[in-house]
Symmetry: C2
Subunit: 131 residues, 2 copies
Amino acid sequence: MYTINEVAVICDLSVHTLRYYDKEGLLPFISRNKSGNREFTEQSLGLIKIICCLKNTGMPIKHIKQYVDLCMVGETKVDDRKKMLVEHRREVAKQMDEMRKNLNIIDLKIALYEKGDQHEFAHHLEPARSE
Amino acid sequence: MYTINEVAVICDLSVHTLRYYDKEGLLPFISRNKSGNREFTEQSLGLIKIICCLKNTGMPIKHIKQYVDLCMVGETKVDDRKKMLVEHRREVAKQMDEMRKNLNIIDLKIALYEKGDQHEFAHHLEPARSE
DNA sequence: ATATCAATTAGAGTTAGATCGAAGTCAAGT
DNA sequence: ACTTGACTTCGATCTAACTCTAATTGATAT
């Protein structure tokens, strides 16, 4: 059993954020002890890690909630869960591709600077027959 | 010469966004025609593409502004510009690495679902001696 | 010249995702 | 009993990056 503070450290989230996630319905699986404090099991930690993983790859909180809800209803929805992940996987792959392209452009630009080739303004601001 | 609408289409940005960028000082290089409308040159387009590239890789508007400002003062700041890009490049590489790791976790999870191995709640919610 | 369309501005509003503050509860230690 | 400190809630606030509104001006077509 872990307290909210321990989970915050383990998962690199703030306590605020964890409570916020709970409020948003992302953590329906945690229970409370007799004084009303949240108790996190090993199993919770596992799912929270998945949640972070989805969040860090840009899945919106609302979709994450959908996924978690599917996790809570039991085996019946395994196909749906898998479908969500596969779809998200595709999304992430697309993002990475975009990223790669942009990285290439940045690299190209750096290479130009390396060549002393600036391609910018100011240094050839001859008005070029301003109309 | 391009109008704001044409640029919006070419760069896949809304007209609103372009004006917002201008207001934020990201487009100090564009001029106005006699009726006060923005005029975009071929050269502007080039820099706007770089701006988008930086934005799409997560550089905040404020940093982009710094970069653009360096572009405007001429050759003197080529080193600084390059430094900014190199630094950002590193940042982006880090992001991609994170992304890759998360993608792996997602793939793992998908594989588990494929094996019919769910690892979630509900289906073994025997109270496990609740305390 | 009048209707329509495209562009302008300043500034308000929106969204997502936190992040914080105030006020209060609870349990352990001295 | 009292302080300490971790926890609670609710609601306000914050930031980034738009997104929209309203009122207006200017250019184009009939």
